[in-house]
């Protein structure tokens, strides 16, 4: 869980920073999007690097979901008779919603790929003009798209808040001070990542990106 999660988080950081290129204008953003397809050239032919990265991330995602499924199934088997009286987990909302949150994020990733990668669910859907796709996709009259993105990103934030702390712990974080630092880092990082992702659709709605 920890290792595959870290791979996915590294991708999210790069993805979030790349998205911010949208504030440098259509030419800059479209050029950046095009560059993503030519990383590694001329050593690698066009889009090879992209497909290698997709393969690595896809494998990490499958391994992540597989580990989560194994843990969830073991948990179910470990308690065959449920408690008649069971208050909610009081530790944290983030820890309590890891599994369903993960399902929501997985569904969102499918929608997100159909929207802005393949363009099937995007009003413009032109892979050569990503800036226009984003500007049209989050247009104010399509407020429900922004709503879906917001819910998904906030869910992701909660997932990362517990996930990052849990990854540190799984990899051997063992001091009380380190635990406080790991929890603070996970919270700070999750908030920063959410803000970095959400600033794009809300900038489109506010008319800063059109």
């Amino acid at each position: 869980m920890a290792v595959t999660g870290i791979l996915l988080v590294l991708f999210l950081i790069a993805h979030m920073l790349g998205n911010l290129k949208i504030f440098f204008g259509p030419a800059s953003f479209d050029h950046y999007a095009h560059w993503l397809r030519t990383i590694g050239s001329p050593v690698l032919p066009d889009t090879w690097y992209l497909w290698i990265q997709r393969a690595v991330l896809g494998t990490a995602l499958v391994a992540h979901i597989w580990s989560a499924t194994v843990l969830a199934r073991r948990a179910r088997v470990a308690r065959p008779v449920r408690y008649a009286h069971r208050p909610k987990v009081h530790g944290s909302y983030a820890a309590r919603t890891m599994r369903w949150g993960g399902v929501i994020i997985a569904l969102f990733v499918v929608y997100h790929l159909l929207d802005l990668t393949t363009g099937d669910l995007n009003p413009v859907g032109d892979p050569r003009r990503p800036y226009a796709n984003v500007a049209a996709g989050f247009a104010p009259e399509r407020w429900y798209v922004t709503l879906v993105y917001t819910v998904a990103i906030v869910t992701l934030g909660f997932h990362l808040r517990h996930g990052m702390f849990s990854a540190f712990r799984s990899l051997g974080q063992q001091t009380p001070r380190g635990e406080a630092r790991a929890r603070a880092a996970a919270l700070g990082f999750s908030v920063a990542l959410c803000a970095g992702f959400l600033v794009v659709p809300f900038a489109v709605i506010a008319g800063l990106v059109r």
Binding site: A78, A95, Q173, Q174
Partner: protein
């Protein structure tokens, strides 16, 4: 105080079990929770009914025998307190209290609130020991232990093996117990020869017993009557990673 108890009654391992309501009048707030159950059992015995079976021994909070889930919380509402040290003053007059056994596949119910915790013994047998020379006791200062290590080891050694961590864990995991036993010995010089085989053996025994996997939620440490910290699980993970990296049987590695 007058209380309504809803207690899990199960005549034996094969009985599906059910919650049964009992009225317990005139409970003194100074009684411990187990004394309140004693009062109920006295009456049930006089009425010719089967008394509620529950585990208990020292009633001083140090043996780890007692343990039941009270209103959904292992050992009841008081922090760092075993059920025997929980007093009725923490409950309200007229309150309904739900009492259930530890619920885990690895802790099968023997009767009512009594569960079989021998899975813990199997985890201990898989590595919770040190090799020690027999004969006269060694001179106490012959082997120096850092104060911080001694303190952390002692903190872990406080585990009484009651099983509340398993009862509270949403995954039904016994990782806090296993981590306490691993860190207790791995922090001390006496525990070093078996350090790698201990953690692997104990985690294997843990999984074989049918406990779930840890997802670092922290419900265990919240109910632990001895306040075993969640960081001990990080120590177990660190030992485990090191043990699985090490090439077993290669001298000098």
């Amino acid at each position: 105080m007058n209380l309504t108890l809803r207690i899990w009654r199960q005549t034996g391992p094969d009985d599906p079990g059910r919650m049964v309501s009992y009225q317990v009048p005139d409970v003194s707030p100074d009684m411990s929770f187990l004394e309140m159950l004693d009062v109920l059992n006295d009456r049930l015995t006089l009425d010719g009914e089967d008394p509620v079976a529950f585990d208990h021994d020292c009633r001083e909070g140090i043996c780890g025998a007692c343990g039941m889930v009270i209103n959904g919380v292992a050992h009841g509402p008081e922090r760092a307190t075993t059920a025997c040290q929980l007093h009725m003053r923490h409950f309200r007059d007229g309150q309904t209290i739900d009492i259930e056994p530890w619920r885990a596949k690895a802790f099968p119910v023997i009767k009512d609130l009594v569960v079989d915790r021998s899975a813990f013994d199997r985890i201990i047998a898989a590595g919770g020991y040190v090799t020690a020379p027999t004969g006269a006791a060694p001179e106490a200062h012959a082997q120096l232990v850092r104060k911080s290590d001694a303190d952390a080891a002692f903190e872990s050694a406080a585990c009484i093996g009651c099983g509340a961590c398993v009862a509270a864990c949403p995954n039904g995991s016994a990782m806090l117990f296993t981590a306490a036993k691993v860190s207790h010995l791995s922090l001390l010089p006496q525990g070093q020869p078996e350090r790698t085989t201990r953690v692997v053996g104990m985690v294997d025994a843990h999984d074989e017993a049918g406990f779930g996997g840890c997802t670092n939620i922290g419900e265990c440490t919240a109910v632990c009557p001895k306040g075993i910290p969640l960081t001990s699980i990080g120590r177990l993970n660190r030992d485990y990673l090191r043990a699985t990296r090490e090439r077993d049987g290669v001298p000098g590695t």
